[in-house]
């Protein structure tokens, strides 16, 4: 029997805010891991274009490993493997998840950022140099702001994905949305109902993010050249919710 009352209870009447707290864990881990991932990705992207070849190898090997193995396995490696390599180094679940997600995201962001930096016309760097800008200043003032326009749409997708993928943290017992649904649901056989509650929260998070992303895109596109990107984002959202349409 489907327990609507349980769905309703956990959505609106729960005095302990069980799922709101779980959503908070999902959210903060996603935000922090994404932020670290972006910084890591930028460093790796710059390393991959460096003249000093060991930088390029290190960055290449890093990306190869983290993109080439499943995130779930990376989480489990940290959770089960780290205490074996370094005794006493049993990290709390949230730390394992945060580290694995950040490192993994860094690899994906480095590819996105590298492509975006490469998409900026080489004449922009030449003009910056010709005006007496050193490399760092030219990157910060001229190249990266222009690359941002290209980075933000895929970055939005990455973060959207991140919020949903944190659900795999439930396998090591982190009480984020999916984990909470399973643990609470198993007690009185309402896992299905609570997964629906979790899904509502996931949709809430991704929908809010969608609006924020669109706002950011407009901010980084002062010349309004990326109208097409905006349209694509709207389309993909309705497709995600309804499964079809444009």
């Amino acid at each position: 029997m489907f327990r609507w009352d349980q769905v309703w209870y956990y959505l609106f009447q729960d005095p302990n805010f069980t799922f709101l707290q779980a959503a908070w864990i999902t959210l903060w881990i996603s935000v922090v891991a994404q932020a670290i991932g972006v910084v890591l990705g930028l460093i790796l992207a710059l390393m991959r274009t460096a003249k000093f070849s060991p930088f390029r190898w290190i960055a290449g090997a890093y990306t190869w490993f983290f993109r080439g193995s499943p995130l779930l396995v990376q989480v489990l490696l940290l959770w089960t493997g780290l205490p074996k390599v370094i005794p006493m180094a049993l990290l709390p679940q949230w730390a394992c998840v945060l580290i694995a997600f950040s490192l993994n995201e860094g690899a994906y962001m480095s590819e996105i950022i590298r492509a975006a930096l490469g998409s900026v016309d080489s004449g922009q760097m030449e003009a910056a140099k010709a005006l007496g800008m050193p490399y760092g200043l030219a990157m910060r003032r001229i190249i990266i702001p222009q690359a941002m326009r290209v980075i933000i749409p895929p970055l939005g997708n990455e973060f959207n994905n991140m919020m949903k993928t944190t659900s795999i943290a439930s396998v090591i017992g982190l009480m984020e949305l999916a984990g909470t649904a399973q643990v609470y649901g198993a007690q009185i056989f309402i896992t299905f109902e609570l997964l629906i509650v979790a899904t509502v929260y996931y949709l809430l998070l991704t929908t809010i993010w969608e609006f924020i992303q669109r706002w950011i895109e407009r901010r980084f596109d002062p010349g309004r050249t990326n109208v097409a990107v905006d349209e694509v984002m709207q389309k993909s959202f309705s497709q995600r919710v309804a499964g079809f349409g444009g």
């Binding site: 004449g123 003009a127 010709a130 005006l131 007496g132 010349g223 050249t225």
Partner: protein, 267 residues
């Protein structure tokens, strides 16, 4: 050694030529692009470099502010060696900081404008004076408006580059270079990417600059400009300077067969 020391003395720096190159050699792979090029540009002069495509004229210009490294030879701007310095008797590439400092004094105008796409016309102009020269923003903005007015774009300060025509973009690019108060301006085929009807407005700005006494090196296919505005014309072919002299000497009394045949094709 003694010669270089003399050249770097302040006295000489203010009197000698603005640009001097010695036996410039540049290769792209096995392709020799500059084969021992010597030339000088005096203060206040407009030197125009002409020649067929692939003759090395753009490369020569790009070497002057070290956008290209050179394989041998030397370049001096205002008596200072460009891009390289002597260390224990050897020539090594200069530090990034010194190269940037040199470039800040030399304006470069690109064939494809290269305006910063995420900035308005005004922002393009004030960017380097504020962040490279660290001049006060108010002052720089004021000067930028004067420059925009000078290039005839006073009403376009808030326009982004993609809203401007090629000719307008190039004039903003010239204003952007001038905002640094350069002692030398380099023009790399500044009108080659423009529609024919837009060439005139850019040449007019360049002509005005020359008349005001700016030291300029201009690589161009505009023979009319070379003839009317240049103090000195250099004809390059096959990685070398073939002939140079006043516009009169080059356009009317060319001695070299290659110069004559080139001019007969383009005039």
């Amino acid at each position: 050694m003694t010669l270089e020391k003399l050249d770097n003395s302040p006295q000489n720096a203010s009197n000698g030529p603005m640009v001097r190159t010695e036996q410039l050699v540049k290769r792209f792979g096995s392709n020799l692009v500059l084969n021992g090029v010597d030339f000088t540009v005096d203060r206040g002069q407009t030197v125009v470099i002409i020649g067929p495509s692939g003759s090395g004229k753009t490369t020569l210009l790009r070497c002057i502010n070290h956008l290209e490294k050179i394989d041998s030879g030397r370049i001096f701007i205002d008596g200072q060696m460009v891009g390289y310095r002597e260390q224990n008797g050897k020539i090594v590439e200069d530090s990034e900081k010194n190269i940037a400092r040199m470039r800040a004094q030399v304006g470069f105008v690109f064939q494809r404008f290269n305006l910063f796409a995420h900035m308005t016309a005004l922002e393009n102009i004030i960017e380097a004076p504020i962040h490279v020269l660290r001049q006060p923003k108010d002052e720089v903005i004021e000067r930028a408006r004067v420059l925009l007015d000078k290039v005839g774009l006073a009403n376009k300060e808030d326009a982004y580059p993609h809203r401007l025509s090629g000719g307008q973009q190039q004039r903003v690019a010239i204003a952007r270079a001038l905002a640094m108060n350069p002692k030398l301006m380099l023009f790399d085929e500044a009108t080659s990417a423009l529609d024919p009807e837009l060439v005139g407005e850019v040449l007019k700005v360049m002509r005005q600059l020359a008349e005001e006494g700016m030291t300029m090196v201009v690589v161009t296919h505009e023979m009319g400009f070379a003839r009317d505005v240049a103090d000195h014309v250099i004809f390059m072919d096959k990685a070398q300077i073939v002939e140079q002299g006043s516009p009169q000497q080059i356009f009317n009394e060319a001695q070299n067969e290659r110069t004559r045949s080139f001019l007969s094709r383009v005039l």
